[in-house]
Symmetry: C2
Subunit: 112 residues, 2 copies
Amino acid sequence: MSEIDRELQVCDEAVTLAFSVLGKRWNGMIVATLGSGSTSFVALRRAVSGISDSVLSDRLAELALAGLVTRTVDAGPPVTVSYALTPSGESLLPILEQLGSWAVVNLSAPTD
Amino acid sequence: MSEIDRELQVCDEAVTLAFSVLGKRWNGMIVATLGSGSTSFVALRRAVSGISDSVLSDRLAELALAGLVTRTVDAGPPVTVSYALTPSGESLLPILEQLGSWAVVNLSAPTD
């Protein structure tokens, strides 16, 4: 394998790794939403419109396992559970922002 | 709705738009692979390891519809079909590269 082929392969593997988490529906949206700060489950479900309780619950567990989100339980009373980004999650935000700007310019339906 | 809420919503919609294309398995990989230049179907299938002929064919049609990929037929003989990025597709490459670098730092399995 040539040096260039190897570099390309490493680059592709990195992109594949990124999409192993972000390629799953809602995950990018959830991280983007948590970008505005620590949020309760209910507020998160309201912000990510269209997601069900069980799917949001699964996705939050996956994002926690991937080290992007933390879950904090406040014993209360009343008991409250909140979700927030880890530093890894935070570091994804500027890239998501660029991706959003790119999409608006390049994927919006043509108006003519 | 407050000004900040509206801005957040617009941002989330942009991210959702981005993932309407990139959230689908293989699409990010295909764009990243085409980043190295115009490629035949067979070479593309070899580069995107694990994808089947029919799925690659579907994804290329979707990416063409989204305006990110062009399909060029050279009458030959022999007839050859090649795929390349449009300027919209090209403009995604630096963001995919950042996403890849982010993933390598933040998603790789811990070694300790």
